[in-house]
C-alpha cells in the first residue's frame, strides 16, 4: 500500500561522523539482547534458536535416511532408530515448524506492516522467547539423557504404560513450548486489532497479516488442549490412573481425539503463515496486487475454522465409529476448497504481471507447486476407502512433508531471503540464493516423491528394517535427502557471510509495497519516525516505488 511518505523513509543523508542509529546498533552487549523488548531483536533471538533446532532435527533425519538405504538395520540399533525419528518429529514440529514463520518473520515484520512501534505486549513477547528456550532445553536434555521412542504422536498406551524412555520430561518440554506459542498468538491478535496505523482498515492489511491472524486463532484455541493432554499423559504414566490405557479402564482413542484436536489444526499453524508469506512474495515479485484479495483473506479464516472439524481423519483405521468417520471425511474434503482458492488466486496474480525470478520468488513458485501436490494428496487421506490403505504408510510421510517442507520450509526460506535486507540491512548473494533454491526444490522432490509410491506399495512408516523390494525407492529418497541437506547448508553459509561482506540493501530493494519497506533498513528501534498514514488499497505499486536494487 502506498502511504503518505514520511521524510525519514527515504535513504538517510550520509552522516560523516557516525552511522545512522538503528535497532541493531542502538545498544551493544549480551544483556542488551537478552533483556530486549524490541520485537525486531526478539525475532533475531528466535532466528538463532530455530536455526539451531532445525539443524539438530535435520541431523536426526539424515541418520534415519542413511539407515534406510538398506533393508537391514545395519547402521543404528532398533532402539536408536526409534529415538531418532521421534527426535526428528518432535524437534521439527514443535521447535521449528510451528514457531518458524510466526516467531521469526511474523515477529519482525508484523508490527511494521501495521505501522506500529512494537507488538502490544513487548515484555510478553520476550517472555515467550524464554519459554521457547526453556521448552527446548527440557527436550534436548531428555534427548541427551537417553531419548524418547514414542514417535512425536505419543500414542497411548505405548507412551503411558510401555515405553521405558524419557516420556515425561519431553512431554513437559512440549507443554512449556506450547505456552510460548500461545503468548505469541495472543500478542498478534491484540496487536492486529488495536494497533493498526491510521487508515489501515482490515481490507488494506497485507495478506501476511490476515494469515498470521488466522494462525493465532488456531494457536489460541488449540494449543491449550494439547497442553492438558500431555499433562494427563504424564499423570497416567506416574500414577497409573486409567484415562487412556484400556488395561486399567481407560480408552486409547480418547488420547487420539485430544491429541489430534490440536495436532491437526497445528498443520494449519504451520502452513497458514507460509501461505501469507507466499502472498507477499507473489505480489512483490510480479509487481502486482494479489488477485482475489478478499477471497484469499477469507480463505485463511475458513481454513482456521474448518481445520478444527477434521481431526478424525487421522483415526479412520483406529477403531472410531464409521458414522463419525463419515462426518470427518466429508469436512476433510471441504477443507480442500479454501486451499484450492488460494492456489488459483496466486497463479492468477502472475497473469500480466512483471515477474522477477529472484530467490524469494523461486521459493514462492516452488511453494505453490509443492503445496498443490501436498494439498491434493491430502484428498487421498480424506477419502475413507483409500485412507484405510495408505494410513501409517510412507504415503502419509510423503504427504505431510510436501505440506511441511515443500510448504512451510520453502516459504520460510523465501520469506527469510525477502526480508533479510530489512532485518540486516545487507543483500544476500543472489546467485547463491537461486542456486540453493533450485537445489532444495530438486532435492526435495527426489526425497519425497518416491515415498508416495513406497506408501502405496505398502511400506509402513517408522520401519527400521523393511522388505527387500522397497529398497530401490528408498535409495532414491536417501539420495534426494543428501542433496536437500546440502541445499540447506549453503544458505546458512552465505547468509552469515552476507552479514559482514555483502553490500547495503537500502530501504526497499525489491520495490515492494507494505509499510515495512517505508522505513530504513535496518529499521530504527521505534520502526517509524512518524506514524504512517495509509491512504491506498494494499499492493498499490506507484512508479516512484518501483526502483530496484540488486
Amino acid at each position: 500500500m502506498s502511504t503518505v511518505l514520511t521524510p525519514e523513509a527515504a535513504e538517510p543523508k550520509p552522516d560523516a561522523v557516525r552511522p545512522r542509529e538503528h535497532y541493531l546498533n542502538v545498544r551493544f552487549g549480551i544483556a542488551s539482547w537478552l533483556l530486549t523488548v524490541d520485537h525486531k531483536r526478539i525475532a533475531i533471538l528466535y532466528v538463532v534458536g530455530i536455526t539451531l533446532m532445525f539443524f539438530v532435527g535435520g541431523a536426526a533425519a539424515t541418520i534415519v535416511r542413511v539407515e534406510l538405504m538398506t533393508p537391514a538395520g545395519d547402521l543404528v540399533s532398533r532402539d536408536d532408530y526409534n529415538k531418532l525419528f521421534t527426535a526428528h518429529g518432535i524437534i521439527m514440529v514443535f521447535f521449528y515448524l510451528i514457531p518458524a514463520i510466526p516467531a521469526v518473520l511474523g515477529n519482525f515484520v508484523l508490527p511494521m506492516m501495521l505501522g506500529a512501534r512494537d507488538l502490544a505486549f513487548p515484555k510478553l513477547n520476550l517472555l515467550s522467547w524464554y519459554i521457547y528456550v526453556a521448552g527446548g532445553v527440557f527436550t534436548i536434555v531428555a534427548l541427551l539423557a537417553g531419548g524418547i521412542d514414542t514417535g512425536w504422536t505419543f500414542y497411548t498406551p505405548y507412551s503411558s504404560a510401555d515405553s521405558h524412555t524419557h516420556v515425561i520430561v519431553t512431554a513437559l518440554g512440549i507443554l512449556i513450548v506450547g505456552f510460548s506459542s500461545i503468548l505469541t498468538g495472543l500478542n498478534f491478535v491484540v496487536t492486529i486489532h488495536t494497533m493498526r496505523a491510521p487508515g489501515l482498515t482490515w481490507f488494506r492489511l497485507p495478506l501476511f497479516v490476515w494469515s498470521s491472524y488466522a494462525t493465532s486463532l488456531i494457536i489460541l484455541l488449540g494449543t491449550p488442549v494439547l497442553a492438558i493432554t500431555v499433562v494427563l499423559l504424564a499423570v497416567e504414566r506416574i500414577w497409573g490412573v486409567g484415562i487412556f490405557d484400556p488395561a486399567i479402564g481407560g480408552d486409547p482413542l480418547l488420547f487420539q481425539h485430544l491429541f489430534w484436536f490440536y495436532s491437526h489444526p497445528a498443520v494449519y499453524i504451520m502452513v497458514l503463515p507460509a501461505m501469507g508469506v507466499v502472498s507477499e512474495l507473489v505480489a512483490a515479485f510480479s509487481r502486482k496486487n494479489v488477485f482475489g484479495y478478499h477471497f484469499i483473506a477469507f480463505a485463511s479464516i475458513a481454513i482456521a475454522v474448518l481445520g478444527f472439524l477434521v481431526w478424525g481423519h487421522h483415526m479412520f483405521v483406529a477403531g472410531i465409529s464409521p458414522y463419525a468417520s463419515l462426518i470427518f471425511s466429508l469436512i476433510s474434503f471441504l477443507v480442500a476448497i479454501p486451499s484450492a482458492i488460494k492456489v488459483f488466486n496466486w497463479t492468477a496474480t502472475l497473469y500480466q504481471g512483471s515477474v522477477s525470478w529472484q530467490t524469494p520468488m523461486l521459493y514462492a513458485l516452488g511453494f505453490i507447486g509443492l503445496f498443490t501436490i501436498g494439498g491434493l494428496t491430502g484428498l487421498f487421506l480424506a477419502a475413507l476407502a483409500v485412507d484405510l490403505h495408505v494410513s501409517d504408510t510412507y504415503f502419509i510421510v510423503a504427504h505431510f512433508h510436501y505440506i511441511m517442507v515443500g510448504g512451510t520450509v520453502m516459504a520460510y526460506m523465501g520469506g527469510l531471503h525477502y526480508w533479510w535486507p530489512k532485518m540486516t540491512g545487507k543483500m544476500y548473494p543472489e546467485w547463491w540464493g537461486r542456486f540453493s533454491a533450485i537445489l532444495i526444490f530438486f532435492g526435495f522432490n527426489l526425497t519425497f516423491f518416491p515415498q508416495f509410491v513406497l506408501g502405496y506399495q505398502g511400506m509402513p512408516r517408522r520401519y527400521h528394517e523393511y522388505v527387500a523390494e522397497f529398497q530401490i525407492l528408498n535409495v532414491m529418497s536417501t539420495a534426494g535427502a543428501s542433496i536437500l541437506a546440502v541445499g540447506y547448508v549453503v544458505p546458512l553459509i552465505y547468509l552469515l557471510w552476507s552479514l559482514g561482506y555483502a553490500k547495503d540493501a537500502g530501504p526497499n530493494p525489491w520495490g515492494a509495497t507494505g509499510l515495512e519497506w517505508q522505513t530504513p533498513s535496518p529499521p530504527p528501534t521505534d520502526n517509524f519516525a512518524k506514524t504512517p498514514v495509509v491512504v491506498n488499497p494494499p499492493y498499490t505499486f506507484t512508479a516512484k516505488e518501483a526502483e530496484v536494487v540488486g
Partner: protein
C-alpha cells in the same frame, strides 16, 4: 481529563470501530501523536491510554478463551469417563462433602461480588474502598482455598487420593455392583483423579489470582490508579470472575451427580 471521560471514550472507540468491521477507520487516529504530555502509565509503543487499555482488556479476554480450552480438555475427559462409568461416578461423587462444596461456592461468589465492587471503586476513583474490596477479595480467596484443603484432607483420611494409597475398603459399595470390585474401584479412582486435577488446577488459578491481587493492592497503596488508569484492576477482575465461572461448572459436575447413573 477526568477518569470517567477516559473510560467513556475507550468504550465508545471500541464499539465504534468494531461495529463496522473492516470498513471502519483503524483504531489509531492520525491526531494521536507520539509526542505531547505522557501519562505515566502509558507505554512507549501505544499512542494513547485508550488504546493501551483496550489492548490489555482484549488480551485478557483472549487469554481467558484460551484458558477455557485448557479446562476444556479436562471437561472432555470428564464427559467421556462419566458416560462410560456413570455408576462409579455417582458413587464417588457421594463421597464429597456436599455442604462444604456449597459453602465454598457461596464464598467464591461473594469474592466475585467484592472483586466487581473493587473494579467499580477504581472506576470512581474511591481509593480507600478499592483497597478495602481488594483485601476482602483476597481474604475470601484464602478462605476458599482453606476449605478446599480441608476437603482434600478429609479425602486423604478416607484413602481417596488416587495412587498407591487409594482404597475403597471400609466404604459400602453399591449393590448390584457394575463390574467387579477391582474395575469399580478403578473407575472410582478415575473420578477422584479427575476431581483432584480439576479442582487442583482451579486452586492453582486461585493462588495465581490471589498473588496478582496482592501486587495490585501494594500498588494501590503506593498511590497508583489515582489518575483514572485502572486497566490492571479491570483485567485482574476479568481473570478472577473467569476462575469463578469455572467453579460454577465444577460444582454441579463434581458434587451434584450422586443420583445413580440414570442421567
Amino acid at each position: 481529563m477526568s477518569a470517567e471521560s477516559v473510560h467513556h471514550d475507550a468504550h465508545h472507540d471500541a464499539a465504534h470501530h468494531d461495529a463496522v468491521e473492516g470498513q471502519a477507520a483503524a483504531p489509531r487516529s492520525p491526531q494521536a501523536g507520539h509526542s505531547g504530555a505522557h501519562h505515566p502509565a502509558l507505554a512507549h509503543h501505544f499512542d494513547s491510554l485508550e488504546q493501551q487499555q483496550e489492548a490489555q482488556s482484549l488480551g485478557m479476554w483472549i487469554f481467558l478463551a484460551s484458558e477455557l480450552l485448557f479446562f476444556g480438555g479436562l471437561f472432555t475427559v470428564y464427559t467421556v469417563a462419566r458416560w462410560a462409568y456413570p455408576e462409579a461416578f455417582a458413587f464417588a461423587s457421594g463421597h464429597l462433602v456436599l455442604w462444604l462444596g456449597t459453602l465454598n461456592t457461596v464464598v467464591l461468589l461473594t469474592s466475585s461480588l467484592t472483586m466487581a465492587l473493587a473494579v467499580r471503586a477504581s472506576q470512581t476513583c474511591e481509593l480507600r474502598s478499592l483497597r478495602g474490596y481488594l483485601v476482602l477479595t483476597i481474604v475470601l480467596g484464602v478462605v476458599f482455598l482453606g476449605i478446599k484443603m480441608t476437603e482434600y484432607y478429609l479425602d486423604y483420611r478416607e484413602h481417596l487420593i488416587p495412587g498407591p494409597m487409594f482404597s475403597l475398603a471400609g466404604h459400602e459399595l453399591p449393590d448390584p455392583l457394575p463390574g467387579g470390585t477391582r474395575e469399580f474401584t478403578r473407575h472410582v479412582e478415575l473420578y477422584f483423579w479427575i476431581y483432584f486435577t480439576m479442582t487442583g488446577l482451579h486452586a492453582l488459578h486461585m493462588i495465581i489470582g490471589i498473588g496478582v491481587l496482592g501486587v495490585l493492592l501494594i500498588l494501590a497503596r503506593g498511590g497508583r490508579y489515582t489518575t483514572g488508569y485502572f486497566a490492571p484492576i479491570e483485567i485482574a477482575g476479568l481473570y478472577w470472575h473467569f476462575v469463578d465461572i469455572v467453579w460454577i461448572f465444577l460444582f454441579p459436575l463434581l458434587y451434584l451427580i450422586h443420583h445413580g447413573g440414570a442421567a
